[in-house]
């Protein structure tokens, strides 16, 4: 059929079935995807205008380059990719199904001529004798053959891993399943965040890019947040929130530790440890000794607050860090003596006796401190995620089958030739033909030896 005879529908069908379209689409997807990795995505106009001129900004914005993976043209490209995938599969699948389900059981001369490894042997034995031997040999060295008798000839057909031909379709369908999972997630799921101050609870979370909170339908309380560090280092070891879930007054789970890489899930909504920060100023407990008199006082102070000391002086906590140069928590204090002299120094919680060696009227020991934190949680609901994993599993299975297994077939025809019996055999594999050739050469050699051997 030449191009003129084709009606538009057929032309369109052929266009969507073509492998060239597949290659072009894949390369276009690869090339356009680069854009979104070079231009930062989903920033505010102000941020873009700091980088680009107004004209450039307007052009890029029109082209949807600031949110390109959700732009109409990128989605259209994915749409073409999907239609191409479906069309190719619909076009080729019936033929493959037929090859597997209705194999040629009675091979003719034309089929044998297509094999590069065809062989003919003549054996001085009866057809029935040979037939039994060949069938047994094929069963034990390849797979059980289907035997068909027709006009005095006996035909054997044996195959292995016929399902290997479906690997490619499984792979293709898996991509569509992943797309469906992603669409389900977009339509019925959300990504949000919430900050919870230690000791408080929330039943609302805030979706990204929106000011309207989402009602959880239950509440989550943060009982405690903590950061631990590797010994002698400022490298964080663990960020941990203890979360309690309360649903209609019932405590579902209490003080469940949630750390990075170990989230909490309830009612399909998952909470991920994501960030943290201080909530309000820390409160410190100091033990202060007046050196001259030996008098000791326990004093509580907030950061920045000026506190009176025994003997007429005063002090305040100027600054605090939970990790002072790998020595652990440290506070910078400012002390005012009675005479108005000002003195500033650092007190480390890990070295309680250290400050006694410092000159001055007082010596300080940082007993403990209480810093309230808030924990920052990512909140996600994605009912499509299992569909995505199903697709991923099928993709791995499908591509393994498609790449590493091959459908191998052997045909053998046995017929009387004069007083003897002639055997004709050939075979093929749908991929990795060289490996099959090696196997088939061995198969022929051993079969011949078996037939010639006298029992």
């Amino acid at each position: 059929m030449n191009a003129k005879d084709r009606n538009p529908a057929t032309a369109l069908w052929d266009f969507f079935c073509s492998l060239k379209l597949t290659i072009v689409t894949l390369i276009l997807l690869a090339a356009t995807s680069i854009i979104g990795t070079v231009i930062q995505q989903n920033r505010t106009p102000e941020e873009y205008l700091q980088v680009y001129s107004e004209t450039t900004y307007r052009i890029l914005n029109t082209l949807k380059f600031f949110d390109m993976y959700h732009s109409w043209w990128f989605l259209a490209l994915l749409g073409i990719f999907s239609i191409n995938l479906i069309s190719c599969s619909i076009k080729r699948f019936p033929r493959v199904w037929k090859t597997v389900k209705e194999p040629v059981l009675v091979p003719d001369e034309t089929l044998y001529r297509t094999f590069s490894n065809m062989e003919e042997i003549v054996i001085p034995a009866s057809v029935d004798e040979v037939r039994k031997k060949v069938a047994d040999f094929t069963s034990s060295h390849f797979s059980t053959p289907v035997v068909t008798e027709e006009s005095g000839k006996v035909h054997l057909f044996a195959q292995k891993a016929a399902y290997a031909r479906f690997g490619v379709y499984v792979t293709h369908i898996s991509i569509l399943i992943i797309f469906i999972g992603a669409i389900i997630g977009t339509l019925w799921g959300y990504k949000a965040f919430v900050n919870i101050v230690e000791g408080t609870a929330t039943d609302k979370v805030w979706p990204r890019g929106s000011n309207e909170p989402i009602d959880l339908g239950f509440s989550v309380r943060c009982d405690e947040f903590s950061v631990s560090y590797y010994e002698g280092s400022s490298r964080p070891r663990e960020f941990k929130s203890l979360l309690t879930v309360i649903d209609e007054g019932r405590t579902i789970t209490e003080k469940r530790p949630v750390v990075v890489n170990d989230p909490l899930t309830y009612e399909g909504i998952t909470f991920y440890q994501s960030s943290y920060g201080p909530a309000g100023e820390p409160v410190f407990n100091f033990k202060v000794r007046v050196k001259e008199t030996g008098e000791v006082a326990n004093i509580t102070a907030r950061q920045g607050q000026r506190v009176q000391l025994p003997g007429g002086g005063a002090f305040r906590v100027v600054d605090f860090t939970p990790s002072y140069q790998n020595f652990g928590p440290g506070a910078r204090l400012e002390v005012f003596t009675e005479s108005g002299k000002r003195n500033s120094f650092i007190v480390l919680q890990a070295f309680p006796d250290f400050d006694a060696q410092r000159g001055g009227v007082y010596s300080f020991t940082l007993v403990d401190f209480k810093q309230r934190f808030y924990t920052g949680l990512q909140v996600a609901k994605d009912p499509g995620v299992w569909v995505v994993w199903l697709g991923c599993t099928l993709m791995v299975l499908g591509s393994m089958i498609a790449f590493f297994l091959s459908h191998r077939r052997i045909w053998i025809t046995i017929m009387p030739v004069g007083g003897k019996t002639g055997i004709k055999l050939g075979g093929s594999a749908h991929r990795n033909q060289p490996a099959f050739e090696l196997f088939f050469d061995d198969f022929k050699k051993n079969l011949k030896a078996e037939l010639v051997a006298r029992d």
């Binding site: 390369i27 979104g36 990795t37 993976y69 663990e238 990075v260 991920y272 790449f403």
Partner: protein, 285 residues
Amino acid sequence: MSSTQLFNIVTIAYFSSMVLFIIYLATRSKGVSLIASIAAYGGLLAHTAAIGLRWYESYQIPGGVGHAPLSNLYESVVFFAWTIVLIYMIIDLKYRQPAVGAFVLPFAFLSMTWAQLSLDDAIEPLVPALQSNWLTYHVITCFLGYAAFAVACGVSIMYLIKVGKEDKGSGNSPAGGILAVFPSAKILDDINYKSIMIGFPLLTLGIITGAAWANYAWGTYWSWDPKETWSLIVWFIYAAFLHARFTRGWVGRRAAWLSIVGFAATIFCYLGVNLVLSGLHSYGG
């Protein structure tokens, strides 16, 4: 012996192997190629031991910070070199074409040299984001895939040299000199295809384990982060390569170029994204 010393020996082994393979191209001496192979395989063995030793050493540091050595740029580059020689060994055992070594070992040698000379080899405890078993699965699958693409790239370069020279010689002189020990264009094309056939499912697994981990740790399996996007770009290119095999006109030279472009994208995905672009994969691995 410390793992650092052992890694130095590995680098020397790969260097010797590379030089010997190049000498083999010039001399066509079977003996030289044999010693080159022994150096490569011996290097791989020492490399395996060194990675194991570094793993063990990480447990000797106080504080229970032991972990598989796959957590920073130094460790990943060293592991990349290991996977390259491993995939090379598989291809070598199947095809027995020592000339290929001269085009694959340089990748392993360069990786090792770069790691040993200019990357920080201190064993650091894992930051919270990396404390997951997914790290191991994700890194191993990705790098085995990358390594297969490196082998495919080396072979594609050989293919282009071979075909280019043969075209110039216009057939009247049987390809002499260095080209004499090159496998035939058909075999090179086949090794290219087979390597990518090994690499593609591994990359697919690498992307999937990465997505699974992201979903487990961050609550989203795909966020179009530059690293994720570049791994998908690489996946698209090799998917195009595999489909191109079924159409006329895309075997041979074009396939070789596509394979080289694919590996360039792979390297950008691995290193370029961290060095040039910013994103979630900021640990350097």
